[in-house]
Protein backbone atom coordinates (compact mmCIF):
# COMPACT_ATOMS: atom_id res chain seq x y z
CA UNK A 1 0.00 0.00 0.00
CA UNK A 2 1.38 3.42 -0.92
CA UNK A 3 1.64 6.32 1.48
CA UNK A 4 -1.12 8.08 -0.38
CA UNK A 5 -3.51 5.19 0.05
CA UNK A 6 -2.86 5.11 3.77
CA UNK A 7 -3.29 8.83 4.00
CA UNK A 8 -6.60 8.77 2.10
CA UNK A 9 -8.04 6.50 4.73
CA UNK A 10 -6.97 8.74 7.58
CA UNK A 11 -8.73 11.87 6.39
CA UNK A 12 -11.68 12.73 8.60
CA UNK A 13 -14.50 14.43 6.80
CA UNK A 14 -15.50 17.90 7.95
CA UNK A 15 -19.05 19.19 8.02
CA UNK A 16 -18.97 20.58 4.46
CA UNK A 17 -17.77 17.30 3.03
CA UNK A 18 -20.47 15.49 4.95
CA UNK A 19 -23.09 18.01 3.80
CA UNK A 20 -22.17 17.49 0.14
CA UNK A 21 -22.34 13.75 0.62
CA UNK A 22 -25.81 14.21 2.08
CA UNK A 23 -26.83 15.94 -1.14
CA UNK A 24 -25.53 12.94 -3.08
CA UNK A 25 -27.66 10.69 -0.89
CA UNK A 26 -30.71 12.80 -1.78
CA UNK A 27 -30.09 11.96 -5.44
CA UNK A 28 -29.45 8.31 -4.64
CA UNK A 29 -32.55 7.90 -2.54
CA UNK A 30 -34.72 9.98 -4.88
CA UNK A 31 -33.80 7.99 -7.96
CA UNK A 32 -33.28 4.79 -5.97
CA UNK A 33 -30.12 4.24 -7.93
CA UNK A 34 -26.76 5.68 -8.88
CA UNK A 35 -23.00 5.31 -8.95
CA UNK A 36 -22.54 5.81 -5.23
CA UNK A 37 -18.93 4.79 -4.81
CA UNK A 38 -17.79 6.73 -7.87
CA UNK A 39 -19.46 9.92 -6.63
CA UNK A 40 -18.14 9.74 -3.09
CA UNK A 41 -14.49 9.55 -4.12
CA UNK A 42 -14.92 12.83 -6.02
CA UNK A 43 -16.45 15.10 -3.43
CA UNK A 44 -13.34 16.84 -2.12
CA UNK A 45 -11.91 17.32 -5.63
CA UNK A 46 -15.11 19.02 -6.81
CA UNK A 47 -15.52 20.92 -3.56
CA UNK A 48 -12.07 22.48 -3.85
CA UNK A 49 -12.51 23.27 -7.53
CA UNK A 50 -15.87 25.01 -7.05
CA UNK A 51 -15.03 26.62 -3.70
CA UNK A 52 -11.52 27.81 -4.43
CA UNK A 53 -10.36 27.37 -8.02
CA UNK A 54 -12.88 27.76 -10.83
CA UNK A 55 -14.10 31.13 -12.08
CA UNK A 56 -17.81 30.96 -12.84
CA UNK A 57 -21.11 32.70 -12.32
CA UNK A 58 -23.92 30.28 -11.55
CA UNK A 59 -26.47 32.87 -12.72
CA UNK A 60 -24.75 33.02 -16.11
CA UNK A 61 -23.33 29.54 -16.56
CA UNK A 62 -22.24 30.16 -20.16
CA UNK A 63 -20.11 33.29 -19.66
CA UNK A 64 -17.31 33.08 -22.20
CA UNK A 65 -14.45 33.69 -19.76
CA UNK A 66 -15.53 31.03 -17.25
CA UNK A 67 -13.21 28.20 -16.41
CA UNK A 68 -14.41 24.89 -17.80
CA UNK A 69 -14.77 21.72 -15.78
CA UNK A 70 -15.67 18.52 -17.59
CA UNK A 71 -16.54 15.48 -15.54
CA UNK A 72 -15.35 12.92 -18.04
CA UNK A 73 -16.15 10.07 -15.66
CA UNK A 74 -19.80 10.95 -16.14
CA UNK A 75 -20.96 8.16 -13.87
CA UNK A 76 -19.69 10.23 -10.93
CA UNK A 77 -22.31 12.85 -11.76
CA UNK A 78 -24.19 12.71 -8.48
CA UNK A 79 -21.23 14.48 -6.87
CA UNK A 80 -21.33 17.08 -9.64
CA UNK A 81 -25.08 17.56 -9.19
CA UNK A 82 -24.51 18.04 -5.45
CA UNK A 83 -21.91 20.77 -5.85
CA UNK A 84 -23.73 22.49 -8.73
CA UNK A 85 -26.92 22.68 -6.68
CA UNK A 86 -24.93 23.87 -3.68
CA UNK A 87 -23.55 26.67 -5.87
CA UNK A 88 -27.06 27.57 -7.08
CA UNK A 89 -26.69 26.49 -10.69
CA UNK A 90 -30.08 24.91 -10.03
CA UNK A 91 -32.34 24.29 -7.06
CA UNK A 92 -31.44 21.61 -4.52
CA UNK A 93 -35.09 20.61 -4.62
CA UNK A 94 -34.57 18.79 -7.89
CA UNK A 95 -31.83 16.50 -6.58
CA UNK A 96 -34.39 13.98 -5.43
CA UNK A 97 -35.77 13.72 -8.97
CA UNK A 98 -32.47 12.19 -10.14
CA UNK A 99 -32.86 9.50 -12.82
CA UNK A 100 -36.63 9.89 -12.84
CA UNK A 101 -38.55 10.15 -16.11
CA UNK A 102 -39.12 13.91 -15.96
CA UNK A 103 -35.80 14.91 -14.37
CA UNK A 104 -33.02 17.02 -15.86
CA UNK A 105 -30.61 14.92 -13.79
CA UNK A 106 -29.80 11.65 -15.54
CA UNK A 107 -27.53 8.83 -14.53
CA UNK A 108 -24.93 10.59 -16.66
CA UNK A 109 -24.77 14.37 -17.04
CA UNK A 110 -26.03 16.21 -20.12
CA UNK A 111 -24.81 19.64 -21.07
CA UNK A 112 -27.99 21.06 -22.50
CA UNK A 113 -30.15 19.91 -19.63
CA UNK A 114 -28.17 20.66 -16.49
CA UNK A 115 -26.92 24.22 -15.94
CA UNK A 116 -23.19 24.12 -15.25
CA UNK A 117 -22.54 20.83 -17.04
CA UNK A 118 -20.06 21.58 -19.84
CA UNK A 119 -20.27 18.33 -21.82
CA UNK A 120 -22.47 15.26 -21.99
CA UNK A 121 -20.37 12.39 -20.71
CA UNK A 122 -20.97 8.82 -19.70
CA UNK A 123 -19.29 6.86 -22.45
CA UNK A 124 -15.73 6.92 -21.17
CA UNK A 125 -12.76 8.55 -22.82
CA UNK A 126 -14.65 11.49 -24.33
CA UNK A 127 -14.10 14.30 -21.85
CA UNK A 128 -10.36 14.65 -22.30
CA UNK A 129 -10.45 15.10 -26.12
CA UNK A 130 -13.32 17.57 -25.79
CA UNK A 131 -11.50 19.46 -23.04
CA UNK A 132 -8.39 19.45 -25.19
CA UNK A 133 -10.35 21.12 -28.00
CA UNK A 134 -11.73 23.75 -25.62
CA UNK A 135 -8.23 24.46 -24.28
CA UNK A 136 -6.83 24.65 -27.81
CA UNK A 137 -9.59 27.06 -28.81
CA UNK A 138 -8.72 29.25 -25.81
CA UNK A 139 -5.07 29.20 -26.81
CA UNK A 140 -5.85 30.20 -30.42
CA UNK A 141 -7.88 33.16 -29.22
CA UNK A 142 -5.53 33.98 -26.34
CA UNK A 143 -8.30 33.58 -23.80
CA UNK A 144 -7.26 33.32 -20.19
CA UNK A 145 -9.61 30.66 -18.85
CA UNK A 146 -8.48 27.17 -17.88
CA UNK A 147 -10.00 23.80 -18.70
CA UNK A 148 -10.08 21.01 -16.13
CA UNK A 149 -11.05 17.43 -16.95
CA UNK A 150 -11.73 14.85 -14.27
CA UNK A 151 -11.18 11.29 -15.46
CA UNK A 152 -11.62 8.00 -13.66
CA UNK A 153 -8.84 5.48 -13.24
CA UNK A 154 -10.82 2.80 -15.07
CA UNK A 155 -11.62 5.40 -17.71
CA UNK A 156 -8.01 5.86 -18.69
CA UNK A 157 -7.99 2.31 -19.97
CA UNK A 158 -9.44 4.04 -23.03
CA UNK A 159 -7.01 4.79 -25.83
CA UNK A 160 -8.69 8.10 -26.60
CA UNK A 161 -7.37 9.51 -23.31
CA UNK A 162 -3.81 8.76 -24.34
CA UNK A 163 -4.42 10.11 -27.86
CA UNK A 164 -5.66 13.36 -26.35
CA UNK A 165 -2.67 13.41 -24.01
CA UNK A 166 -0.26 13.28 -26.93
CA UNK A 167 -2.08 16.05 -28.76
CA UNK A 168 -2.24 18.27 -25.65
CA UNK A 169 1.47 17.77 -25.11
CA UNK A 170 2.27 18.58 -28.74
CA UNK A 171 0.41 21.88 -28.46
CA UNK A 172 1.92 22.65 -25.02
CA UNK A 173 -1.51 23.34 -23.60
CA UNK A 174 -0.63 24.81 -20.22
CA UNK A 175 -4.31 25.72 -19.77
CA UNK A 176 -5.34 22.04 -19.86
CA UNK A 177 -5.49 20.15 -16.58
CA UNK A 178 -6.26 16.49 -16.09
CA UNK A 179 -7.37 15.26 -12.68
CA UNK A 180 -7.40 11.52 -12.13
CA UNK A 181 -9.73 10.14 -9.50
CA UNK A 182 -7.48 7.23 -8.61
CA UNK A 183 -9.68 5.21 -6.28
CA UNK A 184 -8.19 2.00 -7.66
CA UNK A 185 -11.49 0.21 -8.10
CA UNK A 186 -13.25 -0.08 -11.43
CA UNK A 187 -16.51 -1.80 -12.21
CA UNK A 188 -15.34 -5.40 -11.95
CA UNK A 189 -12.77 -4.98 -9.22
CA UNK A 190 -9.35 -3.59 -8.45
CA UNK A 191 -7.69 -1.69 -11.27
CA UNK A 192 -4.44 -3.57 -10.70
CA UNK A 193 -6.26 -6.81 -11.57
CA UNK A 194 -8.50 -5.55 -14.36
CA UNK A 195 -5.92 -3.36 -16.10
CA UNK A 196 -2.77 -2.32 -14.32
CA UNK A 197 -2.16 1.42 -14.61
CA UNK A 198 1.12 1.51 -12.73
CA UNK A 199 3.59 3.04 -13.06
CA UNK A 200 0.97 5.75 -13.61
CA UNK A 201 3.07 8.77 -12.71
CA UNK A 202 5.80 7.70 -15.10
CA UNK A 203 3.29 6.92 -17.84
CA UNK A 204 1.70 10.36 -17.57
CA UNK A 205 5.09 12.05 -17.41
CA UNK A 206 6.22 10.26 -20.52
CA UNK A 207 3.12 11.53 -22.32
CA UNK A 208 4.21 15.10 -21.58
CA UNK A 209 2.28 16.01 -18.44
CA UNK A 210 3.66 17.83 -15.43
CA UNK A 211 2.52 15.24 -12.90
CA UNK A 212 1.71 15.65 -9.22
CA UNK A 213 0.06 13.43 -6.67
CA UNK A 214 -2.13 14.32 -3.71
CA UNK A 215 -4.46 12.72 -1.28
CA UNK A 216 -7.73 13.43 -3.08
CA UNK A 217 -9.64 13.90 0.17
CA UNK A 218 -7.18 16.36 1.68
CA UNK A 219 -8.55 19.85 1.15
CA UNK A 220 -5.28 21.58 1.99
CA UNK A 221 -3.23 19.49 -0.42
CA UNK A 222 -5.74 20.06 -3.21
CA UNK A 223 -5.91 23.83 -2.65
CA UNK A 224 -2.12 24.07 -2.57
CA UNK A 225 -1.83 22.13 -5.82
CA UNK A 226 -4.38 24.17 -7.76
CA UNK A 227 -2.72 27.43 -6.64
CA UNK A 228 0.54 26.50 -8.29
CA UNK A 229 -0.45 24.79 -11.55
CA UNK A 230 -1.38 27.90 -13.46
CA UNK A 231 2.31 28.64 -13.74
CA UNK A 232 2.94 25.37 -15.63
CA UNK A 233 4.23 25.59 -19.19
CA UNK A 234 2.67 22.30 -20.29
CA UNK A 235 -0.45 20.23 -19.59
CA UNK A 236 -0.77 19.12 -16.01
CA UNK A 237 -2.01 15.86 -14.56
CA UNK A 238 -2.93 15.38 -10.96
CA UNK A 239 -3.19 11.88 -9.56
CA UNK A 240 -5.71 12.09 -6.74
CA UNK A 241 -5.45 9.09 -4.47
CA UNK A 242 -8.99 8.57 -3.30
CA UNK A 243 -11.23 6.07 -1.61
CA UNK A 244 -14.19 4.74 -3.52
CA UNK A 245 -17.31 5.27 -1.40
CA UNK A 246 -15.34 7.56 0.94
CA UNK A 247 -17.18 8.36 4.14
CA UNK A 248 -19.19 5.15 4.35
CA UNK A 249 -17.09 2.44 5.98
CA UNK A 250 -19.09 -0.48 4.56
CA UNK A 251 -18.93 0.91 1.03
CA UNK A 252 -15.31 2.04 1.00
CA UNK A 253 -13.26 0.26 -1.67
CA UNK A 254 -16.14 -2.16 -2.14
CA UNK A 255 -16.86 -2.78 -5.84
CA UNK A 256 -20.44 -3.75 -5.00
CA UNK A 257 -21.04 -0.09 -4.12
CA UNK A 258 -19.69 1.15 -7.47
CA UNK A 259 -23.32 1.37 -8.56
CA UNK A 260 -26.19 0.73 -6.22
CA UNK A 261 -29.95 0.59 -6.55
CA UNK A 262 -33.05 -0.35 -4.58
CA UNK A 263 -32.07 1.03 -1.19
CA UNK A 264 -33.79 -0.53 1.81
CA UNK A 265 -34.85 1.69 4.73
CA UNK A 266 -32.19 -0.01 6.77
CA UNK A 267 -29.50 0.85 4.21
CA UNK A 268 -30.67 4.43 4.02
CA UNK A 269 -30.41 4.83 7.79
CA UNK A 270 -27.00 3.22 7.78
CA UNK A 271 -25.77 5.62 5.11
CA UNK A 272 -27.21 8.68 6.84
CA UNK A 273 -25.71 7.63 10.16
CA UNK A 274 -22.24 7.84 8.64
CA UNK A 275 -22.83 11.54 8.00
CA UNK A 276 -23.84 12.46 11.51
CA UNK A 277 -21.65 15.20 12.90
Amino acid sequence: MTNFENASKKIKLDSRSKYLRKLVLECLFGGDRGHMGSAMSLIEILRVLYDKVLKYNSNQPLLSNRDRLILSKGHGCLALYAILSDKDFFSKKILKSSSRFYSILGGHPEFDKVPGVEASTGALGHGSPIGLGIALGAKIEKKKFHTYVIVGDGEINEGSFWEASMIASKHKLSNYHIIIDYNKIQSYGQTKNVMQLEPLKEKLSSFGYKVDQVNGHDIRQLVKYFRKIKKNKRPSALICHTIKGKGFYFAEQNPFWHHKNFFTDEEKLKLLKCLEI
Binding site: G122, I130, G133, I134, G137, I140, S160, E163, A164
Partner: protein, 308 residues
Protein backbone atom coordinates in the same frame (compact mmCIF):
# COMPACT_ATOMS: atom_id res chain seq x y z
CA UNK B 1 -13.63 16.11 -55.93
CA UNK B 2 -11.49 15.89 -52.78
CA UNK B 3 -9.22 18.65 -54.03
CA UNK B 4 -12.22 20.83 -54.82
CA UNK B 5 -13.67 20.10 -51.40
CA UNK B 6 -10.50 21.07 -49.52
CA UNK B 7 -9.82 24.09 -51.69
CA UNK B 8 -13.36 25.26 -50.98
CA UNK B 9 -12.74 24.88 -47.25
CA UNK B 10 -9.71 27.12 -47.77
CA UNK B 11 -11.92 29.64 -49.58
CA UNK B 12 -14.29 29.61 -46.63
CA UNK B 13 -11.41 30.04 -44.18
CA UNK B 14 -10.33 33.20 -45.97
CA UNK B 15 -13.69 34.75 -45.21
CA UNK B 16 -14.25 33.41 -41.69
CA UNK B 17 -11.53 33.24 -39.06
CA UNK B 18 -13.52 30.72 -37.07
CA UNK B 19 -12.97 28.05 -39.73
CA UNK B 20 -10.31 25.47 -38.87
CA UNK B 21 -8.89 22.49 -40.69
CA UNK B 22 -7.93 19.30 -38.87
CA UNK B 23 -6.41 16.29 -40.60
CA UNK B 24 -5.18 13.01 -39.19
CA UNK B 25 -1.80 12.26 -40.75
CA UNK B 26 -2.90 12.98 -44.31
CA UNK B 27 -0.53 12.86 -47.29
CA UNK B 28 2.28 15.39 -47.53
CA UNK B 29 1.35 18.76 -48.99
CA UNK B 30 -2.38 18.60 -48.24
CA UNK B 31 -3.70 22.15 -48.07
CA UNK B 32 -0.22 23.65 -47.86
CA UNK B 33 -1.70 26.98 -48.94
CA UNK B 34 -4.09 26.92 -45.97
CA UNK B 35 -1.25 25.98 -43.62
CA UNK B 36 0.94 28.78 -44.95
CA UNK B 37 -1.75 31.45 -44.82
CA UNK B 38 -3.43 30.45 -41.55
CA UNK B 39 -0.98 28.31 -39.56
CA UNK B 40 -2.90 28.94 -36.33
CA UNK B 41 -6.01 27.38 -37.89
CA UNK B 42 -4.41 24.39 -39.58
CA UNK B 43 -3.89 21.22 -37.56
CA UNK B 44 -2.30 18.04 -38.82
CA UNK B 45 -2.55 15.62 -35.92
CA UNK B 46 -1.49 12.03 -35.64
CA UNK B 47 -3.39 8.84 -36.40
CA UNK B 48 -5.79 9.51 -33.54
CA UNK B 49 -9.26 9.87 -35.01
CA UNK B 50 -11.13 9.42 -31.74
CA UNK B 51 -9.31 12.26 -30.02
CA UNK B 52 -9.40 14.44 -33.11
CA UNK B 53 -13.18 14.29 -33.34
CA UNK B 54 -13.49 15.02 -29.62
CA UNK B 55 -11.03 17.87 -30.05
CA UNK B 56 -13.10 19.23 -32.94
CA UNK B 57 -16.16 19.08 -30.67
CA UNK B 58 -14.34 21.09 -28.01
CA UNK B 59 -13.26 23.64 -30.60
CA UNK B 60 -16.83 23.89 -31.87
CA UNK B 61 -17.95 24.55 -28.29
CA UNK B 62 -15.62 27.57 -28.51
CA UNK B 63 -17.59 28.74 -31.56
CA UNK B 64 -15.02 27.51 -34.07
CA UNK B 65 -16.14 25.66 -37.16
CA UNK B 66 -13.76 22.74 -37.67
CA UNK B 67 -13.49 20.77 -40.92
CA UNK B 68 -12.05 17.34 -40.15
CA UNK B 69 -10.61 15.27 -42.96
CA UNK B 70 -9.45 11.69 -43.08
CA UNK B 71 -10.33 8.39 -44.74
CA UNK B 72 -14.08 7.78 -44.51
CA UNK B 73 -13.90 4.45 -42.69
CA UNK B 74 -11.70 5.94 -39.99
CA UNK B 75 -14.45 8.43 -39.24
CA UNK B 76 -17.46 6.19 -39.57
CA UNK B 77 -16.07 2.97 -38.16
CA UNK B 78 -13.18 3.85 -35.85
CA UNK B 79 -14.64 6.99 -34.32
CA UNK B 80 -18.34 6.20 -34.53
CA UNK B 81 -18.99 6.77 -30.84
CA UNK B 82 -17.20 10.12 -30.99
CA UNK B 83 -19.39 11.12 -33.92
CA UNK B 84 -22.49 10.08 -32.00
CA UNK B 85 -21.67 11.48 -28.57
CA UNK B 86 -19.27 14.36 -29.16
CA UNK B 87 -20.83 15.75 -32.33
CA UNK B 88 -24.41 14.58 -32.79
CA UNK B 89 -25.52 14.55 -29.15
CA UNK B 90 -24.03 18.02 -28.62
CA UNK B 91 -25.25 19.06 -32.09
CA UNK B 92 -22.00 20.86 -32.90
CA UNK B 93 -21.09 22.36 -36.29
CA UNK B 94 -18.19 20.09 -37.20
CA UNK B 95 -17.89 19.00 -40.83
CA UNK B 96 -16.44 15.53 -41.32
CA UNK B 97 -14.93 15.01 -44.75
CA UNK B 98 -14.56 11.31 -45.53
CA UNK B 99 -12.16 10.39 -48.31
CA UNK B 100 -12.95 7.35 -50.38
CA UNK B 101 -16.70 6.92 -50.02
CA UNK B 102 -17.88 3.61 -51.50
CA UNK B 103 -15.39 1.60 -53.50
CA UNK B 104 -12.84 4.33 -54.22
CA UNK B 105 -10.13 2.54 -52.29
CA UNK B 106 -10.68 -0.68 -54.25
CA UNK B 107 -7.01 -1.68 -54.39
CA UNK B 108 -6.55 -1.13 -50.66
CA UNK B 109 -9.11 -3.71 -49.65
CA UNK B 110 -12.04 -3.92 -47.24
CA UNK B 111 -10.44 -1.98 -44.36
CA UNK B 112 -10.48 1.15 -46.50
CA UNK B 113 -13.73 0.73 -48.43
CA UNK B 114 -16.58 2.76 -46.98
CA UNK B 115 -19.37 0.50 -48.17
CA UNK B 116 -21.77 0.98 -45.23
CA UNK B 117 -21.08 4.57 -44.15
CA UNK B 118 -24.38 5.85 -45.55
CA UNK B 119 -26.30 3.16 -43.67
CA UNK B 120 -24.71 3.78 -40.30
CA UNK B 121 -24.46 7.55 -40.51
CA UNK B 122 -28.05 8.06 -41.53
CA UNK B 123 -29.21 6.58 -38.23
CA UNK B 124 -27.71 9.49 -36.31
CA UNK B 125 -29.89 12.34 -35.04
CA UNK B 126 -28.81 15.89 -35.95
CA UNK B 127 -26.37 14.74 -38.66
CA UNK B 128 -26.55 16.10 -42.21
CA UNK B 129 -25.12 13.72 -44.83
CA UNK B 130 -23.85 14.95 -48.19
CA UNK B 131 -22.78 12.80 -51.12
CA UNK B 132 -22.10 15.08 -54.11
CA UNK B 133 -21.82 13.63 -57.59
CA UNK B 134 -19.13 15.88 -59.09
CA UNK B 135 -16.74 18.70 -58.26
CA UNK B 136 -19.28 21.35 -59.18
CA UNK B 137 -21.87 19.84 -56.84
CA UNK B 138 -19.19 19.52 -54.15
CA UNK B 139 -18.13 23.14 -54.37
CA UNK B 140 -21.69 24.48 -54.17
CA UNK B 141 -22.48 22.31 -51.17
CA UNK B 142 -19.29 23.01 -49.22
CA UNK B 143 -19.83 26.74 -49.71
CA UNK B 144 -23.18 26.30 -47.96
CA UNK B 145 -21.89 24.24 -45.02
CA UNK B 146 -21.38 27.26 -42.70
CA UNK B 147 -25.14 27.77 -42.73
CA UNK B 148 -25.80 24.31 -41.24
CA UNK B 149 -26.19 24.39 -37.47
CA UNK B 150 -25.19 20.83 -36.60
CA UNK B 151 -22.61 18.26 -37.70
CA UNK B 152 -22.14 17.26 -41.32
CA UNK B 153 -20.66 14.17 -42.95
CA UNK B 154 -19.40 14.67 -46.50
CA UNK B 155 -18.78 11.58 -48.58
CA UNK B 156 -16.05 12.13 -51.12
CA UNK B 157 -15.82 10.14 -54.33
CA UNK B 158 -12.66 9.39 -56.28
CA UNK B 159 -12.21 12.62 -58.20
CA UNK B 160 -12.21 13.40 -61.90
CA UNK B 161 -15.87 12.44 -62.22
CA UNK B 162 -17.66 13.81 -65.27
CA UNK B 163 -19.28 17.16 -64.45
CA UNK B 164 -23.03 16.66 -64.81
CA UNK B 165 -24.34 19.53 -62.71
CA UNK B 166 -23.10 22.48 -64.80
CA UNK B 167 -25.54 25.36 -64.65
CA UNK B 168 -27.50 23.71 -61.85
CA UNK B 169 -27.80 25.05 -58.33
CA UNK B 170 -27.04 22.38 -55.76
CA UNK B 171 -28.50 23.16 -52.37
CA UNK B 172 -28.07 21.39 -49.07
CA UNK B 173 -31.35 19.64 -48.31
CA UNK B 174 -32.59 19.78 -51.90
CA UNK B 175 -32.68 17.14 -54.58
CA UNK B 176 -31.52 17.97 -58.08
CA UNK B 177 -33.41 17.01 -61.21
CA UNK B 178 -30.71 15.98 -63.68
CA UNK B 179 -33.12 14.59 -66.22
CA UNK B 180 -36.76 15.59 -66.33
CA UNK B 181 -38.99 13.61 -64.03
CA UNK B 182 -41.06 11.03 -65.82
CA UNK B 183 -43.31 8.17 -64.84
CA UNK B 184 -40.13 6.09 -64.61
CA UNK B 185 -37.22 7.46 -62.65
CA UNK B 186 -33.78 6.71 -61.34
CA UNK B 187 -33.11 8.18 -57.91
CA UNK B 188 -29.43 8.46 -57.05
CA UNK B 189 -26.86 9.75 -54.63
CA UNK B 190 -23.14 10.37 -55.03
CA UNK B 191 -21.52 9.24 -58.25
CA UNK B 192 -24.34 6.86 -59.15
CA UNK B 193 -25.93 9.96 -60.73
CA UNK B 194 -23.50 9.60 -63.63
CA UNK B 195 -24.32 5.90 -63.98
CA UNK B 196 -28.04 6.63 -63.98
CA UNK B 197 -27.72 9.37 -66.60
CA UNK B 198 -25.84 6.99 -68.81
CA UNK B 199 -28.37 4.20 -68.22
CA UNK B 200 -31.16 6.64 -69.04
CA UNK B 201 -29.42 7.50 -72.32
CA UNK B 202 -29.12 3.82 -73.24
CA UNK B 203 -32.87 3.34 -72.65
CA UNK B 204 -33.66 6.37 -74.77
CA UNK B 205 -31.34 5.32 -77.59
CA UNK B 206 -32.41 1.67 -77.56
CA UNK B 207 -36.11 1.79 -76.72
CA UNK B 208 -37.04 5.50 -76.99
CA UNK B 209 -37.94 5.47 -73.30
CA UNK B 210 -37.74 8.64 -71.23
CA UNK B 211 -36.37 7.90 -67.78
CA UNK B 212 -35.91 10.71 -65.29
CA UNK B 213 -32.83 11.05 -63.11
CA UNK B 214 -33.11 12.76 -59.76
CA UNK B 215 -29.97 13.16 -57.69
CA UNK B 216 -30.00 13.59 -53.93
CA UNK B 217 -26.67 14.99 -52.82
CA UNK B 218 -28.22 15.44 -49.39
CA UNK B 219 -29.02 11.99 -48.05
CA UNK B 220 -30.14 13.35 -44.71
CA UNK B 221 -32.33 15.26 -44.24
CA UNK B 222 -34.13 14.04 -47.35
CA UNK B 223 -35.80 16.57 -49.60
CA UNK B 224 -39.21 15.22 -48.68
CA UNK B 225 -41.12 17.76 -50.72
CA UNK B 226 -39.45 16.73 -53.97
CA UNK B 227 -39.42 13.07 -53.01
CA UNK B 228 -43.13 13.08 -52.28
CA UNK B 229 -43.75 14.54 -55.71
CA UNK B 230 -41.58 11.94 -57.41
CA UNK B 231 -42.78 8.94 -55.43
CA UNK B 232 -46.46 9.77 -55.77
CA UNK B 233 -46.26 10.57 -59.47
CA UNK B 234 -43.91 7.80 -60.58
CA UNK B 235 -45.05 4.46 -61.86
CA UNK B 236 -41.70 2.82 -61.22
CA UNK B 237 -38.55 3.95 -59.42
CA UNK B 238 -35.08 2.48 -59.20
CA UNK B 239 -32.68 3.81 -56.58
CA UNK B 240 -28.93 3.42 -57.04
CA UNK B 241 -26.17 3.84 -54.48
CA UNK B 242 -22.53 2.87 -54.01
CA UNK B 243 -23.27 1.48 -50.55
CA UNK B 244 -24.69 -1.74 -49.18
CA UNK B 245 -28.43 -1.79 -49.81
CA UNK B 246 -29.07 -2.68 -46.16
CA UNK B 247 -30.25 0.47 -44.43
CA UNK B 248 -28.77 2.72 -47.07
CA UNK B 249 -30.04 5.48 -49.33
CA UNK B 250 -32.57 3.29 -51.15
CA UNK B 251 -33.82 2.10 -47.80
CA UNK B 252 -34.50 5.69 -46.79
CA UNK B 253 -36.59 6.13 -49.95
CA UNK B 254 -38.54 2.97 -49.15
CA UNK B 255 -39.05 4.11 -45.56
CA UNK B 256 -40.35 7.45 -46.76
CA UNK B 257 -42.56 5.80 -49.36
CA UNK B 258 -44.11 3.46 -46.85
CA UNK B 259 -45.41 6.55 -45.05
CA UNK B 260 -47.05 7.63 -48.29
CA UNK B 261 -48.71 4.27 -48.76
CA UNK B 262 -46.92 3.61 -52.06
CA UNK B 263 -46.84 0.01 -53.17
CA UNK B 264 -43.40 -1.34 -52.34
CA UNK B 265 -43.09 -3.27 -55.59
CA UNK B 266 -43.03 0.02 -57.49
CA UNK B 267 -39.58 0.75 -56.08
CA UNK B 268 -36.45 -1.33 -56.49
CA UNK B 269 -33.17 -0.55 -54.78
CA UNK B 270 -29.74 -1.23 -56.23
CA UNK B 271 -26.42 -1.02 -54.46
CA UNK B 272 -23.74 -3.25 -53.02
CA UNK B 273 -24.41 -6.64 -51.55
CA UNK B 274 -23.91 -7.06 -47.82
CA UNK B 275 -20.48 -8.60 -48.10
CA UNK B 276 -16.87 -7.52 -48.05
CA UNK B 277 -15.31 -7.19 -51.46
CA UNK B 278 -13.08 -10.15 -52.24
CA UNK B 279 -11.45 -8.44 -55.22
CA UNK B 280 -9.11 -5.47 -55.63
CA UNK B 281 -8.50 -3.64 -58.92
CA UNK B 282 -9.95 -0.16 -59.23
CA UNK B 283 -13.25 1.46 -58.36
CA UNK B 284 -14.73 0.90 -61.83
CA UNK B 285 -13.81 -2.79 -61.74
CA UNK B 286 -15.52 -3.21 -58.38
CA UNK B 287 -18.55 -1.26 -59.60
CA UNK B 288 -18.72 -3.64 -62.57
CA UNK B 289 -18.27 -6.60 -60.22
CA UNK B 290 -21.27 -5.34 -58.21
CA UNK B 291 -23.38 -4.74 -61.35
CA UNK B 292 -23.45 -0.98 -60.72
CA UNK B 293 -23.10 -0.22 -64.43
CA UNK B 294 -25.18 1.70 -66.94
CA UNK B 295 -25.64 -1.43 -69.10
CA UNK B 296 -26.83 -3.66 -66.27
CA UNK B 297 -29.07 -1.04 -64.67
CA UNK B 298 -30.65 -0.05 -67.98
CA UNK B 299 -31.51 -3.71 -68.60
CA UNK B 300 -32.95 -3.99 -65.10
CA UNK B 301 -35.04 -0.86 -65.62
CA UNK B 302 -36.26 -2.14 -68.97
CA UNK B 303 -37.36 -5.47 -67.48
CA UNK B 304 -38.94 -3.64 -64.55
CA UNK B 305 -41.16 -1.49 -66.78
CA UNK B 306 -41.65 -3.45 -69.99
CA UNK B 307 -45.00 -5.02 -69.02
CA UNK B 308 -46.55 -1.74 -67.85
Amino acid sequence: MRKTCLETVYELAKKDKKILFIGSDLGPGVLDNFKKKFPERFFMEGVAEQAIIGMAAGLAMQKFRPYVNTIATFITRRAFEQVVVDLCLHNLPVTLIGNGGGLVYAPLGPTHQAIEDISIMRTLPNLTILAPCDANDMKSLILQTPKVKGPIYVRIARGGEEIITSGKKSKIGKGLILKKQNKYNFITTGITAQIALSASKILKDKYNLNIGVIHFSTIKPLDKKLLKKIVSKSKKIMTIEENVIDGGFGSSILEFSSDLGVRRNNIRIFGLKNKFQNKYGNQQELLNYNNLTDEYLSKKMYKFIKND
